[in-house]
Symmetry: C2
Amino acid sequence: MHRPRRLPLLLILLGLLPAVARALLPPPRFPGPHARPRPRAGTGDGVGGGYEFETRYFRQRLDHFSFSGEEEFFQQRYLVGRAGAGGWAGPGGPIFFYCGNEGDIAWFAANSGLVWDAAPRFAALVVFAEHRYYGESMPFGSKDKAYNNSRSMAYLTAEQALADYAVLLTDLKRNLSSESSPVVLFGGSYGGMLAAWMRLKYPHIAVGALASSAPILQFEDIVPDTIFYDLVSNDFKRESLSCFQTIKDSWKELDEQGNGQDGLLKLSKTFHLCQTLNTTGALSDWLSSAYSYLAMVDYPMPSEFLMPLPANPIKEVCRNIDKQPEGSSILERIYAGVNIYYNYTGTVDCFDLDDDPHGMGGWDWQACTEMVMPMSSSEGLSMFLPDEFDYALYADDCVKNFGVRPRPRWISTEFGGHNISSVLEKFGSNIIFFNGLLDPWSGGGVLKNISESVVAIVAPLGAHHIDLRPATKEDPDWLVSLRESELEIISGWLSDHYGARGGALFQRATNKDSAAS
Amino acid sequence: MHRPRRLPLLLILLGLLPAVARALLPPPRFPGPHARPRPRAGTGDGVGGGYEFETRYFRQRLDHFSFSGEEEFFQQRYLVGRAGAGGWAGPGGPIFFYCGNEGDIAWFAANSGLVWDAAPRFAALVVFAEHRYYGESMPFGSKDKAYNNSRSMAYLTAEQALADYAVLLTDLKRNLSSESSPVVLFGGSYGGMLAAWMRLKYPHIAVGALASSAPILQFEDIVPDTIFYDLVSNDFKRESLSCFQTIKDSWKELDEQGNGQDGLLKLSKTFHLCQTLNTTGALSDWLSSAYSYLAMVDYPMPSEFLMPLPANPIKEVCRNIDKQPEGSSILERIYAGVNIYYNYTGTVDCFDLDDDPHGMGGWDWQACTEMVMPMSSSEGLSMFLPDEFDYALYADDCVKNFGVRPRPRWISTEFGGHNISSVLEKFGSNIIFFNGLLDPWSGGGVLKNISESVVAIVAPLGAHHIDLRPATKEDPDWLVSLRESELEIISGWLSDHYGARGGALFQRATNKDSAAS
């Protein structure tokens, strides 16, 4: 059984943790394939989530921004939708390009149904590009070599990834004799950040971007650093005040039990752990991970995005916490709650808190270089223990673990973020920022329209990039309708692009059945 | 005596040149300090062209786009205008930031009077930032070390330079407690390209850019590759058809004489060279350099930008070519002509064609990496011998000379250029593209308005970034008036920025005498 990697919150907080448990200090993570068993990585063609694609590889430059004379390349994987009945319009026709995130691209392809579902309506070619250093797109020939040390990892940055996409798209269009094709970018989470940044940095390469749940403001002091955990907490509080309070009370309880006679052994039994705990911190971490991920995937329909989960999983967790018989201890209630997350299928006999065999992860590296997203937990609003982001400690750990010092101000220097409304009000165009307010990452998202064409679509009941998820019969009306709004905006970008010239191509597309899915 | 470094045109053309003469294959150059004696590089404060500034240094990161863990820094020089009577408005007040080109920043500061002249009107702080690998801003501690080999030069790119400016500005504003300051970018020639690209890539750092004579379209096949030399030729033709024809006929004449008995000796005498020629190619090169530079600096007033020159120097050159007594040979006429360029002061006894002691130049490197600007000479319109750009030869020479292979498509992938009007029509804002049509670089410039705020200002009688030059009493009305138009547009950007908030600051500026200079 896999589990989401731990969140740093309590590691920083609990001074009791021995140094070894703090050896890695990963940031809050986006949900992704690192949090679940990996899909089989096929090297040939494939079907992901029912979508048929061809797997291709592109000889990609390792360092776009220097010219040392020692040219290094790697094979970047990308998936191209297979032309079917509703296939591509052909040269000049639209290209829907998904900006791969921090994981295997096949997984994102399988979980981004909107792109596939919408493509036939616009006769668009679907391309999912894998992010360097993830999945099969490994520099130096293998993951071991790519992840060997700080010198081999040096080129794992968002800027290099964006340049990859720019080069790949330019080459792809040329090879298809389709230089005039309008490209629409898609991306969710970190991929959504890349999509938005790419539209801003490479407007000549893409006509617009749907940036879903992209916390591009979660840097420096642009948004309050307590917002993430406040939002997680709020998701629990809105379901049940007593559930929220039980969780809030549980940390002290855990700590006390852990410090008692045979405390760690007892805790290990209460939580059905496969191995006896070394620290209560590891358990706290396991629990807080679950809460954070639950907030991200608090979808109103059953999902298997991270784990098999019921609809409205937080409601279910809280129901379990609250419904335990009178006299149940706080920790018994907590155990009953997280069971929904870690063992909804009921097939797990015991839980393994330390089952990540991969060691150094790509996102950990990114968080220790440029993706520095300060996270604190507030005294008042959070159900987590109060905690303040300690940059010095964070940076020291990065030096210790990866041999690099973060550049905490670099992302906002390179991509902006401060005063984004006034900066983009008269600059830039054609970006949709989608956010679901249940998603704790929405705290770092763009939640208000910036201009006529840099717009925010906000779903009060939505979680992490729910708009991108494959359509299901259980989709609530608001979701169907917001997806339709997004596609109408995209349709407008394409109309603008085709304008006078090439209108026929677009005609073909818009004359099709215009149902959203 | 210094001379402009040679243009590649005839080197490629004349197969007769021995390999050694083709060892360096520089591209057409922008005028710059490489073409004239360097200003004394002071390390303290200084006065350039009468403008008082303080010299400062910033600890700049060598590679912004990778994280190898081995952090390398260098001292980047920048000049800050000295606060005087018409000094900076203070925190929140405007910053006028000149994006340094391929040369000593003091020279650009001395030759960009518009920035200094306009600053008091807006109570703006003036900053001139030096481009990495030029002037004193040398990585690895010295020019010798920085220019040692392809590994040491690897980070001499436009992208790194832009990131330098972004980081420097961000830090500068923070240190001045002036984060809200609107930054207006200025730049001429390559510096103008940087200013335009910086506004496009870093809109959160600067509110607008005056990109003067910035040939951002002189890449790939965006503009015809014959346009540069056609424009040079046209500048001569418009002054005198017979002058144009004499030059056009001179190449064959040169070649024939050079191949005759004692030909090179005779040629050396005719042209008063200090040393006997080894090849006619070296002389052709020296001549074509003069014509190209003359076209760039064909100003309507006397100037000392590259060389001391009279007003309308091409008119003077052609007058000298045409007015020689009947029976004068073609080459005697040519000599009389170029004397205006190389010896207007009349102090030169003999000309040294090989007086560049610097060897490998920074711009040569840039031209061999990303700044690949294809240049041909057309059969019909050019006064130069017809010649077609041979990329394979160009690239091979780069490998030979610098150990790097160019990426001829990278600039347009990274910064765009194709279909710039449709790309920027609804994206981007606040850029002025100035071009003078006498300037051969105007062929690669933006000559038409793209949108309401991405505008072209075109001076039919202007040469290379004449708008930026210090105001003189001889300035024609059209020049005074176009500078005023530029400043009014910039004033609009600042008004937009201040809007409701901080209006008072701006009030102070606009209440001042609004004369342009």
